[in-house]
Symmetry: C2
Amino acid sequence: MEQSSFANKRVLITGGLGFIGSNLARRLLDLGASVTLVDSLVPEYGGNLFNIAGFENRVRVNISDVRDQHSMRYLVQGHDCLFNLAGQTSHLDSMQDPYNDLEINCRSQLSILEACRNYNKDIKVVFASTRQIYGKPDYVPVDENHLLRPVDVNGINKMAGEWYHILYNNVYRIRACALRLTNTIGPRMRIKDARQTFLGIWIRLLLEGKAFEVWGGEQLRDFTYVDDAVDAFLMAAASENANGQVFNLGCERVINLKDLADLMVEINGSGRYELRSFPPDRKRIDIGDYYADFSRIRSVLGWEPRVPLREALVRTVAFYRENLEHYL
Amino acid sequence: MEQSSFANKRVLITGGLGFIGSNLARRLLDLGASVTLVDSLVPEYGGNLFNIAGFENRVRVNISDVRDQHSMRYLVQGHDCLFNLAGQTSHLDSMQDPYNDLEINCRSQLSILEACRNYNKDIKVVFASTRQIYGKPDYVPVDENHLLRPVDVNGINKMAGEWYHILYNNVYRIRACALRLTNTIGPRMRIKDARQTFLGIWIRLLLEGKAFEVWGGEQLRDFTYVDDAVDAFLMAAASENANGQVFNLGCERVINLKDLADLMVEINGSGRYELRSFPPDRKRIDIGDYYADFSRIRSVLGWEPRVPLREALVRTVAFYRENLEHYL
């Protein structure tokens, strides 16, 4: 990817005050882009004004919700690129309020794409999809040819949302592609609770000197450092070869949750956790081992993760030790 | 399947005044079931009061729309079995009004299942899914391990609707399964236009002595006679082995559209058609050859198609020759 691809480009990011959105915004500013962030700041989601501390004067912030068709219709206009990251991410919340998840992850995606089709056909869209849509893997590493068998409402709605993007690319030539993210970690993620990632609540409790809970412990997982995820979004946006495609992200080092917990304690210098069996309401939607085969994005876009897991965790813990109060 | 499975059973059919729903209702009455039909009678869809002519006094008809959460919440109660057939079926309509398709094929499925979960956990649900969710096949015959890559909004929403059923089976133990229907043909289908099946408009024009259009002509398709589809719904409802499963329907004889057109003309004794290349708005969502591998339902439920294609077409044409006025 040419660094110059984004110079003077007008970029819109939904979920722009969230974890990945804000990290992406910062990078885009460094690349010379003009950046507008759309975020609803719904308290249960990932948006946090502190995420843009230090560069708040260099971005335009527009508070609105992707469910608001009217504002989205206006906002997609005049932009070269849309990073479409707004979403409801909590699996449990999606089971407790499936309609809300549907409105955000399914219907709003359709209305965003309709807005692009009607008011900005030349925009390029990169959608933040999720490994959650695969459900419980038949095999690992999971490649993009694996069947989609989501195990929660969130997974079903994200699956539909992803496919609206592919469809609008194929039928209407609204250039779009999707990244199926695995566990993304790093500065600016939500750590108040487990709504965005279980690692968030681990870090919070670790830094507060409290025991965190590890459910199960043997499950294998993969992690992408947020800077690497940002790379992938930029590469997907810059390449015409990405259009109409879905790509897994992943990492080199797979780890089980108990070893990850030990690593967290070691990096923090202290801490403790409790191994617990799965609570019944989680067990039903647990997926066992998951890690991705990311060879497609490596071969098509040249993406590779660059930050090793340990380094990712060191940077992440350091960020929250410094900024804990802004994330509670 | 025991014929006695449905004696005195209380059965609810959404889309019950439609093509498959009304044929299913008639069979269930013969098996001794107590049958309630729910239908919105939206003029563009498949519902037609003439479909129950001759047995209208033996069924309960409740006019309401599956989008009406309030009526569905009441209606699912007190039933042993729900055949969930209501849907928007037009691919073109789904592209022109994607929100409407989403409301019916996606959101309403969720609310029906929520109604079951909250008010009738013991109900068994059989959902009418569609081959459309596969999109353009990588290989034929298409089995249930083929990736889902829908090529229109209808396909995406039906995919989500199907998966809500599987999810509610797996997580909440609301027993549910889905049949992925291919082209179903027979008496009581909509023939006013191509909204339900292209074969409908062919038959109408044939019987009106007008030329019908064959787009392409080389595409291979498979067809299920409606009585065979009804068998599959009953077998799926009666078997606990079906729970949580998806099943393709199919047939023994695959045929290309031009040969099918010739066969239609021959069976009708006269008629003509024009071979045309695809209109651009259809070409983009065409799927090429499709026919199903239905070995899963054969091995799990013992289903097999019994009515050969020619016989299916003979019966169908005879029905519409007799009853044409009621379907225009």
